[in-house]
Symmetry: C2
Subunit: 257 residues, 2 copies
C-alpha cells in the first residue's frame, strides 16, 4: 500500500484525543434533517481529517458523514466518520469511535478505528492480519452459544425484528465498536442495521482481515463503488465467523413481515 | 450520616483504578456455579474493600458478590460489588463499575458507583441530591420518546419479553451503569432484570436521590432487610421518572406468559 498505516493510526488517535479533551461531555447535539444527531465536534473533526488528508494526498477523494463528498472518481477514496456513535457521545457513554477507511478502485485497502475513551486502536491492511493495538486478533470460532456469549444488535432492532439467541445481546451504540468486538472475538457476531458507508468502511475491512464475513439478512451486498454512491445499506447485515453468521441469520425473525 | 461520603468515594475510586491498571484486559474468567463469570480481580478487590471497611468500621456488617456475608444483624451494612458487569469487564468493554451501598437499619444511607474507564463517579447520600462527579443530576422529565431517546434493557431481555418502545434501546452490560445513566437523565428509563442486592444497593439510592422511582414489572418490591436475606429480586424492575416508568411498564410484553 502506498499509504502508511502508521500515518492513518496517528490521525485517528489525534482526532480521538481532540474529541475526548475538547468536546466529550461538553457539547450539545442538534438534529439533522434525517433526525440523527450532530454536534460541533463531528463537524470540526471531519474538517480536521479532510484538511489533513488533503495536505498529504491532494489527489485523493474523500467522503464523510458531515460534508459533501469530494473526488469520488479518484483512484483512492477515504471514507471517514469523525464520530461513529454520536448518540452515545452526546449521552456521555464510552463507546464511540473515529473511523477511517481507505478504498482503492473499489477495493478496501485499510481500516482504522480508534476508541478514545478506552484508548484502543483496531486496524487492518487488506491482505494482512487484523490488530487490536499491537496484538493480532481473530473472530471467535463457531460453537454453540453459552450463557455468557454475546452478540451485538442495533438500537432499533426491537422495532422490526425478534431474535432467538440463547446467550446475551448487547447494544453498544456504535457500528464501528460492533466491528471491533467481533474482530477481536469477544462478540460472537453482530447484526448491523441499515448503516451508511462511513459506518462500515473501516470496520468491515478489519472484520474480514480477522477471518470474518459480512452477510446481508436479505438480498445481496452492494459492491463498494455502488455503496459510495448509494451511501446506505439496503438491508441489515450480520458479521462474524462465516458459520456463526449463518446461525445468527437463522435466529432472526421480522415482526409483521 | 456518621460515615463520610468522601471516604466512600475515595475507596470506590481506588478500587476502580486498581482494576483498571492491574486487571482490565489482563485476566481470564472462570464460571461460577450459577454460570455467571468471576475473575481473580473480583475476588481481590472485594477482599480489599472488605478489609478497608473492617479497618475503619469494625462493627459494621458487609455483604458482597464474591464472599460470605458478615454481620447482617449490625446497624450498618455495606453492600458491595467489586465489579458490576464482570461479563463486560472480561470482554474488554468499558462499562463496568465498582458499586458501594450503605444500609442502616433497613434504610439506604448512601450509594457510590465508580466507572473506572470513564473516570466518572456517581453518588448520593439519602435525603440529599444525586451527583455525577461534582454536578447535581436529575432523572429525565417524562415526555413522549423521540427517535434519539433511549432506555436501557438487560442482556437477556429478548429471551422472555418484547418491548414496543418507539425510541432506541441499549444494553450497557452493567446494572450500576444503567442506574447512573438514568439518574443523569441520559437514559429515559432502564429495565433491570432479576438483579442481586449488590447490583442495585448503590444505584437505587442514586436514582431515588435524582428524583426517580423503582417499580417492579410484576408483584411488589421487597424491602431492604428482605432483599439482604433473599439476595435476588423476585421480578424485573423499571427505574426512572415515576411517569416515565409507568409508560415503559405498559410497553413490555412477556413472551409465552
Amino acid at each position: 500500500m502506498e499509504v502508511e498505516i502508521a500515518l492513518i493510526r496517528a490521525w485517528a488517535q489525534q482526532a480521538g484525543n481532540m474529541l475526548l479533551r475538547s468536546y466529550f461531555n461538553q457539547v450539545s447535539p442538534e438534529r439533522k434533517l434525517d433526525k440523527s444527531l450532530v454536534t460541533a465536534a463531528d463537524r470540526a473533526i471531519e474538517d480536521w481529517l479532510r484538511d489533513t488528508i488533503h495536505f498529504h494526498f491532494p489527489d485523493h477523494g474523500v467522503i464523510g458523514e458531515e460534508r459533501d463528498p469530494m473526488g469520488l472518481d479518484r483512484e483512492y477514496i477515504w471514507v471517514i466518520d469523525p464520530i461513529d456513535g454520536t448518540s452515545s457521545f452526546v449521552s456521555g457513554l464510552p463507546l464511540w469511535a473515529v473511523s477511517i477507511g481507505l478504498i482503492r478502485r473499489g477495493e478496501p485497502q485499510a481500516g482504522v478505528i480508534y476508541l478514545p475513551v478506552l484508548g484502543d486502536c483496531y486496524w487492518a491492511v487488506a491482505g494482512g492480519k487484523a490488530f487490536w493495538n499491537d496484538l493480532p486478533i481473530q473472530v471467535a470460532p463457531p460453537q454453540p452459544p453459552g450463557p455468557n456469549d454475546w452478540i451485538a444488535i442495533p438500537s432499533t432492532f426491537h422495532r422490526s425484528y425478534t431474535i432467538h439467541y440463547p446467550g446475551k445481546v448487547r447494544v453498544l451504540g456504535s457500528v464501528a465498536a460492533d466491528c471491533c468486538y467481533v474482530a477481536r472475538g469477544q462478540a460472537r457476531a453482530a447484526i448491523i442495521g441499515r448503516a451508511k458507508v462511513w459506518d462500515v468502511a473501516a470496520g468491515w475491512t478489519i472484520v474480514q482481515a480477522a477471518g470474518g464475513t459480512i452477510c446481508p439478512l436479505e438480498g445481496t451486498l452492494p459492491d463498494w463503488m455502488t455503496l459510495l454512491q448509494t451511501i446506505r445499506l439496503p438491508n441489515p447485515v450480520v458479521i462474524g465467523h462465516p458459520q456463526q453468521v449463518a446461525q445468527v441469520c437463522a435466529m432472526v425473525r421480522r415482526i409483521n413481515p
